[in-house]
């Protein structure tokens, strides 16, 4: 036989990613919540105050765009992986995939790439909306830094999403994702700045992953509350925790289904 024995992994990855993107785009539960929801929140919480300047001299509009940007990327990750994976388990897509030559790691990597693409689109739409409709202005380099940092720092939420996806069933996943992610975002000051939140929330915020995640974006504007290295350490710790939980839930499922 002269033909190659296996298909190139890159070919598999590209085809898989293309289909994942089509799938997400065609399911409004993903595409609308991923792309439109952050803008809707910004309209309510951000637009009315977008022209104001914070005490530290940073534009409040830019600060809130960074906050909702952090919310948007976490949203793509937690809901995309959480509900997406749980649904596929419910539909038993995993059985056929499992029997195919597609390596499970390529399958997951395609999901990660897809989520990064959606995050990039969500951030671009949100920031574009803020600039055009909200009249928020920052140098282009600042926006690029905000976007790059939010994409690069999203690993803890990928872990959290995978964990929810493998740990909860298809019916429970949306509820679990909401119950975890919405309070997490709120308590980290992503919707309403922390100084307007109750004391006990301000006390717990510095222990939450989304708080440190948002610092990546806030500090790009000059409104950070901690050195970049400290944010990254917290995020690395949370990544390790959530990915460990995700791998454990995945292995448990593997044993039950494919052992």
């Amino acid at each position: 036989m002269t033909a190659p024995f296996v298909a190139p992994l890159l070919q598999m990855l590209l085809a898989q990613t293309r289909c994942e993107i089509l799938m997400r785009w065609r399911v409004p539960a993903f595409s609308v919540t991923n792309l439109a929801l952050p803008i809707v929140f910004f309209v309510f919480f951000g637009l009315p105050v977008a022209h104001l300047t914070r005490g530290d001299g940073v534009s409040l509009g830019a600060y809130l765009l960074a906050s909702f940007g952090a919310y948007a990327v976490g949203n793509v990750m937690v809901y995309g992986f959480g509900i997406g994976v749980a649904n596929e388990r419910g539909m038993k897509v995993d059985r056929l995939m499992r029997a195919s030559p597609l390596p499970p790691l390529v399958f997951m990597l395609a999901k990660v790439l897809t989520a990064l693409v959606f995050s990039l689109v969500a951030l671009s739409l949100l920031i574009g909306f803020g600039i055009v409709v909200g009249g928020v202005h920052q140098p282009a380099a600042v926006w690029v830094t905000v976007i790059a940092r939010l994409l690069a720092g999203s690993l803890p939420f990928i872990g959290l999403g995978f964990w929810i996806g493998y740990w909860s069933g298809p019916n429970a996943a949306p509820a679990v994702a909401n119950l975890i992610y919405l309070p997490l975002s709120f308590a980290s000051g992503l919707f309403v700045p922390l100084n307007q939140l109750p004391d006990f929330v301000r006390a717990i915020a510095p222990y939450l992953p989304s708080y440190h995640y948002a610092q990546l974006a806030w500090s790009a504007l000059g409104a950070g509350k901690e050195p970049l290295r400290e944010s990254l350490l917290w995020l690395a710790g949370y990544s390790a925790l959530f990915l460990t939980l995700a791998v454990r839930a995945y292995r448990r499922e593997e044993r039950a289904k494919f052992a």
Binding site: F5, V6, A7, Q11, M91, R95, A99, S100, A259
Partner: protein, 294 residues
């Protein structure tokens, strides 16, 4: 030459249930094999072991000489499983193209879609397909990589007569083209039409491994029932080729693979037969009789 499939003293236990209880079998390149058995016999678990979807509790499974989970082995197999799903928002062609990308030298999409008879539905999203069409989509996904071996678990379930015939025709053509084909079915007729070798599995063990002709001779294929004109003594049935016999008052029910001879003998012995019915035996019943004799 390396066999396509090897199960060596394979056992699979799920909790308290032992679904496969020591199966030895080898399937060579180019064979067309049907795994036949009633529901719950262990057919699906056996296929799962062959494909590495399940790990044997004991014994060994090899696929093309590799661990069945090895990508080199998987890349030579196309698979159609029961109880598997696919993403409904993608179209038939998109899914076929996706699965083609998993294989080193796939068929053209149009060819795979045509083999499954889905030309008219190529642009339709998977969730809009009927049950039978969805089975054909899975068939297209199994063949689109142009693999050397096809594993088809109950391929014709839910298909109407017409599409079932078309898919069986495609399977036959693929076999004639040199593909190794392993399929499970609980229709003796289907196994008989397609396979040159039938492996009968029941209660997790191989109870027969032979040509369709040999198997048919051993499995009672017809159910005969009638009402006798007068009460019958056991002696009446002496020496008849009958696998299972129930007499309730005047009503008689029996299984046989030679119903004509049985009836002829009964007539000769002076039995009056009313309300005669001869039907294809339910395979589950037939297996009961086959296993009961063991």
């Amino acid at each position: 030459m390396t066999p396509v499939v090897e199960l060596i003293a394979a056992r699979k236990r799920f909790g308290d249930v032992e679904a496969v209880r020591g199966v030895d079998l080898t399937i060579a390149e180019g064979e067309m094999v049907a795994l036949l058995g009633p529901n719950g016999a262990g057919k699906t678990t056996s296929i799962g072991l062959m494909l590495g979807l399940r790990r044997p509790t004991d014994g060994q499974a090899r696929l093309f000489g590799h661990d069945p989970a090895d990508r080199r082995a998987r890349s030579r197999c196309g698979v159609m499983l029961q109880e598997s799903g696919t993403t409904g928002v993608l179209t038939v062609r998109e899914l076929v193209d996706l699965f083609r990308a998993y294989y080193p030298s796939p068929l053209p999409s149009e060819r795979a879609i045509a083999l499954a008879g889905l030309e008219a539905k190529a642009g339709a999203r998977a969730w809009t397909l009927s049950g039978g069409e969805r089975q054909r989509l899975y068939f297209a996904l199994a063949v689109c990589g142009d693999p050397e071996a096809l594993f088809l678990d109950e391929p014709t379930v839910g298909m109407d007569v017409e599409t079932r015939r078309a898919v069986l025709e495609s399977i036959r053509a693929l076999s004639a083209g040199g593909k190794t084909i392993v399929l499970t079915t609980h229709y003796l007729e289907e196994a008989d039409q397609l396979a040159r070798r039938i492996i009968v599995i029941d209660h997790g063990v191989v109870i027969a491994d032979a040509t369709p002709r040999e198997i048919k001779a051993r499995i009672p294929s017809k159910r005969v029932s009638f009402s006798a004109g007068a009460p019958l003594s056991d002696a009446i049935f002496q020496g008849l080729a009958v696998q299972s016999l129930e007499v309730a008052g005047l009503r008689v029910r029996l299984l046989s693979h030679e119903p004509e001879r049985v009836l002829k003998t009964l007539f000769e012995r002076g039995v009056t037969v009313e309300d005669l019915e001869v039907t294809g035996a339910d395979l589950e019943e037939a297996f009961l009789s086959l296993t009961a004799r063991r």
